[in-house]
Symmetry: C2
Subunit: 420 residues, 2 copies
């Protein structure tokens, strides 16, 4: 049983808060109203440089991989290190905490290790382009590391939202060597474990009154589209019984998805969302001849997620068919559940317990870079509460005091994992 290392939480909270406020300043965001910080922009470059300098001061060797994932370590290459970090790019209309608080807290763990003379072998990573706000592809940097991309995609398909030019071209222009992207995998080579701290982006911790949470798994999901074809008709001239109103299939499916997700959720955490709906032609006086809606079904049990998707698809087909219409379901993406490593979970729970800090064990409904890491390295995540679950918005709010608790828990979990 490890001995618990206590930290000066007030000082850590001050440093974390200062870092976050600094990185919300004009040199680090292209907007005054929100955090707008996308891969390969000047403000993103400034942000990496900020971390480079702070980590350099701590004696870390800092470098960037061939596409721009930032790596900093306090042991020579080839020696085992414990990985920690997150991302520092922002959503299109982002807040100060999503991602950035994870990198800042990882930096704080590095500072504490140096300050307290613990001598833990550490490697910080700040992954490129997690939000997809530069190039429209979530987790892009960590997926390159995990080999979950194709060269063709990087050369051609993945293009900047703002100017339509390829990822490849932008990476080269920023001074990177995208043709060496397969070498990015090496940044996980020496990792004995991995921890990412992130704001929860939900209200579970707030409702529980807990500052921190230990993540048990990152939800898997199905993203799909349903297209209903009925018949457009004059809304005045067409009696109810003669209509093939595609909107009704969309509406009934939306409510059915809710029912199915709630029912599945009684057994195992599951959610279902229709976030996009469009009607065709979409005019007040025309019975919709077409409807398209999206499905986002997530949960911690792939079988249950698949079942809800299957049942909803069946419902849409049946409902459309019964009324003389058709429904076509097209999957966009299916991502399996990423369970967190049992030993890492246990180390986090032990550390929180010894710190006397109440915590919630919860799954992550949102995707995180840790999904890309967990395939190769025993991985875990720490959540901190965020106000009302608001995220991806300038209104996003989280407390440096909670991140300081997170830093203490991570520091102790790493120490326990490393020494054992």
């Amino acid at each position: 049983m490890s001995q618990h290392v206590s930290i000066d939480r007030t000082r850590s909270a001050e440093r974390i808060g200062r870092d976050i406020e600094t990185l919300a300043g004009p040199a680090y965001t292209s907007s005054e109203r929100a955090i707008c910080r996308y891969a390969y922009t000047d403000v993103y470059r400034n942000t990496l440089d900020y971390f480079r300098e702070r980590l350099g001061e701590l004696g870390f060797r800092v470098y960037e991989d061939p596409v721009g994932n930032l790596v900093a370590r306090n042991r020579p290459p080839g020696e085992p290190v414990f990985g920690l970090g997150s991302h520092c790019d922002s959503n299109r209309n982002g807040g100060k905490y999503d991602g950035t608080m994870g990198v800042v807290t990882a930096l704080e763990v590095c500072r504490l290790d140096a300050e307290l003379g613990l001598g833990l072998p550490l490697q910080l990573i700040s992954f490129l382009e997690e939000e997809g706000s530069g190039f429209g592809q979530m987790l892009l940097g960590s997926r390159i590391v995990a080999g979950r991309v194709t060269e063709r995609a990087l050369r051609q398909d993945v293009r900047a939202i703002d100017d339509g030019r390829s990822f490849w071209e932008h990476a080269e222009e920023a001074g990177y060597q995208p043709s060496r992207w397969p070498e990015c995998a090496a940044i996980l080579d020496d990792l004995t474990g991995w921890l990412e701290l992130h704001i929860e982006q939900g209200r579970v911790l707030q409702d529980a009154g807990h500052r921190v949470g230990v993540v048990s798994a990152i939800a898997g999901y199905v993203h799909a589209d349903v297209e209903v074809r009925g018949r457009a008709d004059h809304a005045g001239a067409t009696p109810m019984d003669l209509r093939l109103d595609a909107g009704t299939v969309a509406a009934a499916s939306l409510l059915e998805l809710q029912r199915l997700a709630r029912r599945a959720n009684e057994k195992v955490p599951t959610v279902g969302t229709v976030g996009e709906v469009s009607l065709d032609p979409g005019l007040i006086n025309v019975v919709p001849g077409g409807a398209r809606f999206s499905l986002d079904i997530r949960g911690v049990d792939d079988r249950v997620v698949g079942e809800v998707f299957h049942q909803l698809s069946g419902f849409a087909h049946e409902r459309a068919g019964r009324e003389g219409m058709t429904a076509t379901v097209t999957e966009r993406q299916t991502v399996p559940v990423t369970p967190m490593d049992a030993r890492i979970i246990s180390a986090l729970e032990g550390a929180a317990g010894r710190a006397g800090e109440p915590y919630t064990v919860l799954h992550s409904g949102a995707a995180h870079d840790t999904m890309s890491v967990a395939g190769r390295v025993p991985a875990g995540m720490v959540f901190v509460a965020c106000r009302d679950g608001v995220s991806h918005s300038p209104e996003e709010e989280a407390r440096p005091e909670d991140a300081a608790v997170g830093a203490e828990v991570m520091l102790n979990a790493i120490a326990a994992t490393t020494e054992s």
Copy 2:
């Protein structure tokens, strides 16, 4: 009891068909793929000139009122005449029959009157801008005649969809005198009655196997918008029970409107449609924090239409409120039912009966220029079947043979009304 005048239906059908095909030619539409003919364009001018020439050949005095409604009469000003006509502008992506078939059939009635030496006092009107495809305002020409516009609207608010310039400016540029618009009312001064033939834009006649229908009333309607405010949340990180999903209120309201309209329809013809739905922010992975949807509720009993609107509004408020959201209902426009004149209906039924032509008495769910006329003149409408109810589309199809039957019925109804 009048004597029935039989016509050579084959010849009338040929002439009607020829007029319609001519007016689908390149001089009369700005698109090859659809009929695109909007007020004050060259192709619209050519279309008016086509009717001017044909009617001039019949000895009619032809003129245009100060904004461009076309008028042609075979009696001097001040003498009583029976009015007939429709509109010859098209929908944005229109077909050959909507409106145009009514003016062409009115022209055929004028031809038959001359040919058969009946000497009926007739006045044909082709109303300007019925579809709103030029300036976004339905029934604009006939509403100017009926005084249902303001000068401010004509000068400022009503603007061309294509270039944003005012109706006033366009009318002047086309050689009209919009400042004299109040004088347009005079074109109804001498009318003893009014008849408009139009394609049904529904499938009632097709299903009944009837060529023609006698319109009993033009439905009244409420157009309104419902805005639901919930809370946008991360679709992965927010459990079902913690959501304020505005989309669910929209979906439930859509289905409820269907239920209410069907129930009301058991007593009196009523329809209800949600043609527009939008979710905010409208992203696959975000629980919709906002939803907006339109209501189009129509029927032949204003009280019932009002009741359905009231009940649906109540449902949306209640459903939103129960789940911690808000719903705001805003009326766009409420238009009362326009009953057709009993004597005109009876004359049409008598004429159809004597012609041995089976017919359906039905209401019009769609709006027509006759709504603007009926306030001052005893008015009626004749519908002809259109294939599958398709309208406002290049696929629109109706039979000149049916319009020829319509011409015979109208001719006889006018004769009966005029002589009695």
